[in-house]
């Protein structure tokens, strides 16, 4: 059974990666039709680096993703701490609120925010209300639940007495938070921030409804492109991005594996180091 499932898993992985292979092949294809391979070229890559449009758009996406994931992480972490101290009834109410953007279809979130911004624009008499600010607000809103859901379990696992012990030993509440609580929940904070960043970087549907002509992100531009034939440069860009992410993940995986091994073999050594640090 295990072997059959293994073979099946392999086939599914092939299925998941077929489009990546197509994109990679298209990026080194001399012809512009993806379906016909006309010979090897790196021309698309050099064209990409000479291109004055795509890279700024990628930068737009990255800036938006950084800003929104940072805001969402700060706001979400403090919210998670607050929620974990609530009475069960209040907590359930707060969690229902958190679940709204998660359960609502993206298109509904996008449409509802678009209507809100248009409404606010009319109230405040701002022309062209859509822009960086509206994108940022929308991205922070859909990122917040991911941060909260990854921080809350860490808070639940944390020993409550640690915080009290720090206070007993003379920490101010702020010190106790930064030295003890934050240290304990850090893995949750980081994974929440990473998730927020990738969600934001890749978001199309919500951005599509709240973007303005002055600040366009890469996915939105790709959508607008697809009415005409896609430029091969885009394949080159995404092949590079995919390779970068793949390498990053492999390195992280190796480091983590090494970390686990080290911790297993030298628990006492690590403990000593931590005490000294």
């Amino acid at each position: 059974m295990k072997r059959a499932a293994g073979a099946f898993t392999f086939v599914i992985f092939l299925f998941l990666y077929v489009p990546m292979l197509v994109l990679a092949a298209a990026s080194i294809n001399r012809g512009s039709d993806v379906a016909v391979f006309k010979g090897f070229t790196l021309g698309n890559y050099s064209a990409l680096f000479k291109d004055g449009v795509l890279l700024p758009l990628l930068l737009n996406s990255v800036i938006l993703a950084l800003a929104s994931s940072l805001c969402a992480t700060v706001l979400g972490t403090s919210a998670a701490i607050g929620i974990s101290r609530m009475s069960p009834r209040l907590r359930r109410a707060a969690m229902s609120l958190t679940n709204i953007p998660l359960t609502n279809p993206e298109i509904v979130t996008g449409v509802s925010l678009a209507l809100l911004f248009a409404f606010a624009g009319r109230m405040l008499k701002i022309k062209n209300v859509m822009g960086f600010a509206t994108l940022l607000i929308a991205h922070v809103t859909f990122n917040l639940p991911y941060v909260i859901l990854s921080v809350l379990p860490k808070l639940r696992q944390m020993d409550r007495h640690l915080y009290e012990a720090a206070m007993d030993l003379g920490c101010t509440p702020l010190q106790a938070f930064f030295k003890v609580v934050l240290h304990e929940i850090m893995p949750g904070v980081i994974s929440g921030a990473l998730m927020a960043f990738t969600m934001s970087l890749d978001d199309f549907v919500i951005s599509y409804f709240v973007y303005g002509a002055e600040y366009v992100t890469l996915p939105v531009e790709i959508y607008n492109y697809t009415k005409k034939p896609l430029q091969p440069k885009i394949y080159a860009l995404f092949t590079l991005l995919f390779t970068a992410i793949l390498l990053l993940m492999i390195i992280m995986n190796i480091l983590q594996a090494r970390d686990v091994k080290k911790r297993a073999s030298g628990e006492s050594g690590a403990l000593r180091k931590r005490r000294l640090g």
Partner: protein
């Protein structure tokens, strides 16, 4: 405790940017686009779109079921691997989602087109090309491809947490492999199944990009119609009414799904 106040800014933010927008959607849905006065005509007009709603739900249900059938063995196999291998395999499942889903869908277009990669291969073999694109099947394929990782993630999380000793106990008590699966593993993975189906169904039922690219003239979905109300036809009031209906539909489906688990907390996938 004072700490409770820490969630204040968050609650204000969510009220401003999730609750109030939904109220505004309701307001638009119940007002006339020209005069701004109260009307039920937007909601009444929804019945014209009933076949489209039905088709969207049907295609999303089919895709969710296919995702479950394909995703379960994969999630199970990953959960059986060595811990270090598990992380790597899980990462491989997540990795395709890092690339814009627009581009991955376009890659499928160039695979399935009449003059696409697969049909070129078929022609090279001397066979007749197949109609692979512009039909419901292609839309389902696009949905399954894009949302399969959302199914595998919660399934894996749940299967991994199943206590090995329960499986061993069932074996000791004389269950064969099939019955261990049906009596222990499957019932214990129900929360993951429910969560996975929800995570596939919701984006699938509301998609507009996949149906635009892979579907044909007869396969428009709710998402397509809503999008065109805002971007092409410009009737936000009708669009708001449709969004409202879509939201109610999704909430109803989730409520039904949650009946199966008996708990209202969804499985955290992180």
């Amino acid at each position: 405790m004072r700490n409770r106040l820490l969630s204040g800014p968050y609650l204000v933010w969510m009220a401003l940017f999730t609750l109030i927008p939904l109220v505004i959607v309701l307001y638009y849905a119940l007002t006339d686009s020209a005069t701004g006065s109260f009307t039920l005509s937007n909601l009444a007009a929804l019945h014209n779109y009933f076949p489209i709603f039905l088709r969207s739900v049907w295609l999303a249900v089919v895709s969710s079921m296919i995702c479950l059938l394909l995703g379960y063995p994969v999630a199970w196999r990953i959960a059986q691997a060595r811990p270090s291998r598990q992380r790597f395999l899980y990462m491989l499942v997540m990795l395709p989602m890092c690339i814009s889903f627009l581009l991955r869908t376009l890659a499928w277009v160039s695979l399935l087109e009449d003059t696409g990669i697969i049909n070129n291969l078929i022609r090279a073999l001397g066979l007749r090309p197949l109609p692979l694109i512009r039909n419901s099947g292609a839309v389902v394929l696009g949905m399954v491809y894009n949302y399969l990782p959302y199914m595998i993630m919660p399934l894996y999380t749940v299967i991994m947490k199943i206590d090995r000793r329960l499986v061993e106990a069932a074996q000791d008590l004389g269950c064969d492999g099939r019955r261990v699966f049906l009596k222990v593993t499957l019932p214990l993975s129900v929360p993951g199944i429910v969560s996975g189906i929800t995570m596939v169904f919701v984006p699938a039922v509301s998609t507009f990009y996949i149906s635009q690219k892979l579907g044909g003239p007869g396969t428009a979905l709710i998402g397509d119609v809503i999008e065109s109300q805002f971007k092409a036809a410009y009737n936000p009031n009708l669009g708001a009414a449709m969004s409202l209906f879509l939201m109610v539909l999704v909430l109803a489906c989730i409520a039904v799904m949650n009946k199966f688990t008996g708990e209202d907390e969804r499985v955290a996938t992180v």
